[in-house]
């Protein structure tokens, strides 16, 4: 019989009754497993000791009063964004992170040409540490909106088109179990300007006490202008607000499917070359050699939109949607999936708590 797994042996530390009959017999006769168990028990006890904490003296009633007194938040879209079951959230967290870092990555790659317009997509594996280090980009300059994003919730596809100017994608056939109730969100185009600021970078580096990469010479004051959207989003699911008289106290059910369409981001730049920015970002502390290698191997950065895939949360695969290359993201637990692709200067996303085959079928037959 094979030796007991480390998970089984570790559980035995907490629960001496955890072993099944055959595992128990093996354990009793196997000095190797007993020795491994002993080592694990030592580590477990050491961890428990190390994680000891001062005693808490709680006044729950007073704590509740303080929480009640906190001002209620005003949801951005007039309703709270859906929160998913813990088991499905990682995939959506991955998608959200992907969207955010895609914007950063676009900023990084769009430069040598006065105009950048991605025509295809490519997955890039990233880790949480990578995401955290990339987010420090904001330490190096100032982001301002010359045209603020103004997302709106609208009632019909016609209104969504009127706001965004985009034809709203139509799902040919909703899969069984997905509600036909649809909520539309639409946004006109928005324009952000990122201005590199050497003084701000120096101050940020001093504040963190870390040695951060030096800005390339001549980059101070360089501007990247990023145009995002217009965009439309269709959210399928019963999104009824459950208001009990308190306008801030709203609740909605989970969306089962999200279909989004956005014009590809367009970037113009001054003073900055692709090579400078790429080297700069990839030299940041915390960017792993794997990520750097993945980004450098991406092919033509001026026409490729990198889709960061958080490796802890989601797996990815390359797919074709009616001939256009796409990236399919799948929850590792199989509880949710999504696909992103570019067709005729628009980025499309289909995602939901459904099987990947269902997402791909919807994407393929989107009208």
């Amino acid at each position: 019989m094979a030796h007991l797994s480390e998970g089984t042996l570790r559980r035995l530390v907490d629960d001496p009754e955890a072993l099944t009959g055959s595992d128990r017999r093996h354990y009793m006769d196997c000095p190797g497993c007993q020795a491994r168990h002993k080592g694990m028990a030592d580590d477990a006890h050491a961890a428990a000791t190390m994680l000891s904490a001062p005693e808490l003296q709680l006044d729950v009633a007073n704590a509740f009063k303080r929480v009640q007194a906190a001002p209620a938040a005003k949801p951005q879209f007039g309703f709270s964004l859906p929160i998913l079951r813990p088991s499905t959230r990682p995939m959506f967290a991955g998608l959200a992170a992907a969207a955010i870092v895609a914007a950063l990555a676009v900023t990084a790659f769009a430069n040598i040409l006065p105009l950048f317009q991605p025509k295809t997509v490519q997955p890039v594996p990233v880790t949480v540490a990578d995401l955290q280090s990339l987010s420090k980009l904001s330490d190096y300059g100032t982001l301002t909106w010359s045209k603020q994003p103004q997302p709106q919730i609208v009632l019909t596809a016609a209104e969504a088109k009127s706001v965004s100017g985009l034809d709203v994608p139509v799902v040919a056939k909703l899969p069984a179990g997905v509600s036909s109730t649809v909520t539309y969100a639409a946004m006109p185009g928005a324009v952000a300007v990122f201005t590199f600021d050497a003084k701000k970078a120096a101050a940020a580096a001093a504040a963190t006490g870390k040695s951060l990469p030096k800005l390339p010479s001549g980059i101070d004051g360089a501007k990247l202008t990023v145009t995002v959207g217009p965009a439309v989003v269709e959210i399928f699911g019963d999104m009824n607000a459950n208001s009990n008289g308190n306008s801030n106290s709203q609740n909605i059910n989970l969306p089962q499917l999200i279909v989004a369409k956005s014009a590809v981001p367009v970037v113009t730049s001054t003073q900055v070359t692709a090579k400078q920015l790429e080297d700069y970002i990839l030299s940041m502390p915390g960017v792993s050699p794997e990520l750097a290698a993945a980004i450098r191997s991406i092919g033509d950065p001026t026409t490729t939109l990198p889709i960061p895939v958080p490796v802890e949360y989601a797996s990815s695969s390359k797919v074709k949607i009616n001939g256009d290359p796409g990236v399919a993201l799948g929850d590792n637990t199989g509880l949710g999936s999504g696909v992103i692709w570019i067709h005729k200067a628009n980025v499309y996303v289909v995602a939901g708590s459904v099987k990947q085959s269902v997402v791909l079928d919807i994407a393929t037959h989107l009208k």
Partner: protein, 170 residues
């Protein structure tokens, strides 16, 4: 049927001690742990219904991650600890052994710094289990199967020991 606010109060009273306990396990600072616990409940109340089946798991996970994030940005905290330690011998000499207090505080600082260097998932598994959550509850909080917890816990404990050793040998 309970109103939304009544349901939230029930959830608060049943989970507050545990949520604060998780944060305290990470921070080793009761006052800051309560700040984190209240922040977590406020966020939850703004976003979700207290009768949601995932509510306890959400709160546990959020407590662990919020507290871990605080440790990662702990410069301010360390400054305060140093001030407290400087005052401690005079203020506490009648009831505490100052040398021992200093050692405990330093040990906790090293352990929390090591915890903050772990990847988010193993760090969360460690503190959730150390806070008394069952394997099933830890699994729900971090969104994995219960069968994976033994392995995750084992690896996290080994990683913590390694990080603490590294932290003390620098």
């Amino acid at each position: 049927m309970k109103t939304r606010d009544e349901a939230f109060e029930t959830l608060f009273k049943s989970e507050y001690a545990r949520v604060a306990g998780i944060a305290n396990r990470v921070l080793a600072d009761p006052q800051e742990a309560e700040d984190v616990a209240q922040e977590v409940f406020i966020s939850f109340h703004r976003l979700h219904s207290a009768s949601a089946h995932f509510a306890p798991a959400w709160l546990h996970r959020a407590a662990a991650h919020t507290a871990l994030n605080r440790v990662r940005g702990r410069k301010r905290r360390e400054r305060r600890e140093r001030q407290e330690l400087a005052q401690a011998p005079e203020e506490s000499s009648r009831t505490f052994d100052p040398q021992r207090m200093l050692e405990v505080s330093e040990d906790r600082r090293i352990v929390r710094a090591a915890l903050a260097r772990l990847a988010p998932k193993p760090a969360a598994v460690l503190v959730l289990r150390a806070s008394g959550l069952s394997y099933a509850e830890v699994a729900q909080a971090i969104g994995v199967g219960t069968g994976q917890i033994g392995t995750l816990l084992r690896r996290a404990e080994a990683a913590l020991r390694k990080e603490v050793t590294r932290g003390t040998s620098i």
